[in-house]
């Protein structure tokens, strides 16, 4: 049931002084309305309790963004569009820019204001976690004068704030000292545009080497108010980064948040995702420099290292040479050296590697090397194994002809190739002379070993 406009009073004084005078005369009677993106929704739904409203939309003094030395003063009447268009906000307070872009649609960003968002005090509001971690202050104004309060203290309970009935937020003050910080904000919602968040976060950190010098973390929708995670921060501040510290931080987060089940999400989901977002942020601060498998393998004995890498290519000479060139600083160096060694081997060594593969379409190699190699062969040849009987028979016949002609097994990189395609390649290669065919086989084996190296490095890292 819609509200009747005749039941509501709306006035639009032309200056801030007159608005404040009106609010001082009858404290609590007049409700300020700026862009109307909250008040008018309540009005449209017949739920607007306030009956007397005062428009502050046209007050220019509430709509400025001013650089005042080491502070940025953002007028409370600035719209999300104003925030998005501000280059100083984009460069110095990027999480506020990002949150403004998340809020509602373009039309709502043209009307909704940052001050309105703060006063409305929704725990789900996207821009409020950013204000918490930037440690903003609010300038509150009334006919009695101005006072500055830390934004951290502003929300006192669900939809409860420090704002007195005759007060307005005049400006949001942002300290300009975050150039050495890394920041990250994330929103989790059912779609990208126009969605009220299931949860949202803003985090800011300064690190030095593997040490967290300072960190600030805030979440929306995780408590009755936009929440700074002071306890979690305490665990992390001054810590050396480790998996153990991460575990402690996730535990602290779980103890500190108190989300609810509601129409948008569940408590369980919110707690789990908040922990994941924290972990994601922390890991981004300390990117892994080295692949874990490579790191471990670099430290093995020469013999063990060669035995392990033999799964990627069945030539003992290759495995020994590749292992001998350790340590590899990065994966790319290993990949490059692996190919170089392969091409420098003798034909006999190549043959040994070829023999470690099962015939295409078969399961067992003539001279199997490792269990991992056999498992990988099965994976690489999966499509061939499940091919139609006709194709399989044709492959078997092709293999026989090939071995008769060249005296070794047919080598092809089967990954990503259809059985019929392999059959065509086999038939073509039967027309090669021996030398050209040996080179082509070696090229195929190089592709196989490169794929296997990548698989080896990624597979075990996940464990």
């Amino acid at each position: 049931m819609r509200s009747l406009p005749s039941s509501y009073e709306l006035v639009a004084p032309l200056s801030l002084e007159r608005v404040l005078a009106l609010m001082a005369e009858e404290p609590g009677v007049w409700t300020p309305v700026a862009g109307g993106t909250e008040v008018m929704v309540q009005f449209g739904a017949g739920r607007l309790a306030a009956q007397r409203l005062v428009s502050i939309r046209e007050l220019r003094e509430l709509r400025t963004i001013a650089e005042r030395g080491d502070e940025l003063h953002v007028g409370a009447g600035c719209t999300y569009t104003d925030l998005r268009r501000s280059s100083v906000i984009a460069s110095e307070f990027p999480m506020l820019s990002t949150a403004a872009a998340w809020t509602g649609s373009i039309a709502n960003q043209n009307r909704g204001t940052i001050g309105g968002n703060i006063v409305n005090a929704s725990p789900a509001a996207d821009s409020l976690p950013a204000l918490l971690v930037y440690e903003a202050e609010l300038i509150l104004i009334s006919t009695r004068g101005e006072r500055r309060v830390p934004y951290l203290d502003f929300h006192t309970g669900y939809k409860q704030t420090l704002l007195r009935p005759d007060e307005l937020i005049r400006a949001i003050v942002l300290p300009r000292r975050y150039s050495g910080y890394v920041s990250c904000s994330r929103k989790v919602g059912p779609r990208n545009a126009q969605a009220i968040s299931k949860l949202c976060t803003a985090a800011l950190a300064r690190v030095s080497g593997s040490r967290i010098e300072e960190i600030r973390i805030a979440f929306g929708s995780m408590a009755p108010v936009p929440l700074r995670l002071h306890e979690t921060e305490r665990v992390l501040n001054g810590s050396e980064w480790s998996e153990y510290v991460l575990r402690l931080a996730r535990q602290a987060l779980r103890a500190e948040v108190s989300p609810i089940d509601d129409i948008r999400s569940t408590q369980e989901y919110r707690v789990a995702v908040a922990g994941n977002l924290l972990e994601e942020f922390l890991r981004s601060l300390f990117p892994k420099k080295e692949n874990a498998v490579l790191e471990r393998w670099n430290l093995l004995s020469a013999e063990d290292a060669a035995a392990e890498v033999l799964s990627c290519c069945g030539s003992h000479a290759w495995a020994k040479a590749v292992a001998a060139a350790r340590p590899y600083k990065e994966e790319a160096a290993l990949f490059a050296h692996a190919s170089e060694v392969w091409h420098g081997l003798s034909a006999d060594d190549w043959m040994e590697a070829f023999r470690s593969h099962p015939r295409i379409g078969e399961r067992h190699a003539e001279k199997a090397t490792t269990a991992a190699s056999a498992a990988w062969s099965a994976g690489e040849q999966r499509d061939v194994q499940s091919a139609e009987g006709d194709v399989k028979r044709a492959l078997a016949e092709g293999n026989r002809k090939y071995e008769e002609r060249f005296g070794r097994i047919f080598i092809v990189c089967a990954t990503g190739r259809q059985p019929t395609e392999i059959l065509t390649i086999l038939e073509q290669r039967l027309g090669n002379d021996d030398e050209a065919e040996l080179k082509e086989s070696a090229g195929e084996q190089e592709q196989i070993l490169q794929l296997r190296l990548k698989k080896w490095l990624s597979q075990q890292e996940a464990i």
Binding site: R2, P5, Y8, V11, A12, M40, G44, G104, A107
Partner: protein, 171 residues
């Protein structure tokens, strides 16, 4: 109880003076007092964009604007786009099949005009963002986005310039 007051604003280039309650929604004043029924009501809570109009060139949901807040402003509705011929954005929506049931169409077209004012050659991502507050339950959006692209590609520099000036007449 509030009293009606005379609210003055410009609609599609013509100055109007409308008796209205200050909290009346701009949407209702346009439709009921000025008979500009091109602007549609969808959700009535600022989610769907059917009631999109331009106020001083800015895209807004007219269901969320109390009419007192447009006192002295320049309002442009979908009726203010076509002259003797269709507006190029309207033409593109027709040619690309960017409309089915039609309820979202005026809002889509107004949002497109707003987008092209600042981004005459929008990328697909910019189109998606520019229209992110306009919901369509029929088309699946693809043809709407194609219409926006086609409008942007086909508009002459004069037509693009005209986007920011009011050309239409209230019928």
């Amino acid at each position: 109880m509030a009293a009606r007051m005379e609210i003055r604003f410009t609609v599609n280039g013509t100055e109007r003076c409308v008796p209205a309650y200050p909290m009346a929604r701009l949407l209702d004043v346009l439709r009921n007092e000025l008979s500009l029924t091109g602007t549609k009501e969808g959700c009535g809570e600022g989610e769907c964009g059917s009631c999109s109009v331009l106020v001083n060139g800015e895209l807004v949901n007219s269901c969320l604007v109390p009419v007192l807040q447009v006192e002295g402003a320049n309002v442009r509705t979908v009726e203010g786009l076509a002259t003797e011929v269709l507006h190029p954005v309207q033409r593109a929506f027709l040619e690309c099949g960017g409309a089915q049931c039609g309820i979202c169409t005026p809002g889509m077209i107004v949002a497109t005009v707003h987008l092209l004012q600042s981004k005459p050659k929008p990328s697909m991502d910019e189109i998606r963002e520019g229209l992110n507050g306009n919901l369509c339950r029929c088309t699946g959006y693809t043809r709407i986005f194609e219409a926006v692209k086609s409008a942007a590609d086909s508009m002459t520099p004069e037509e693009l310039k005209a986007l920011t000036t009011v050309t239409g007449k209230v019928r």
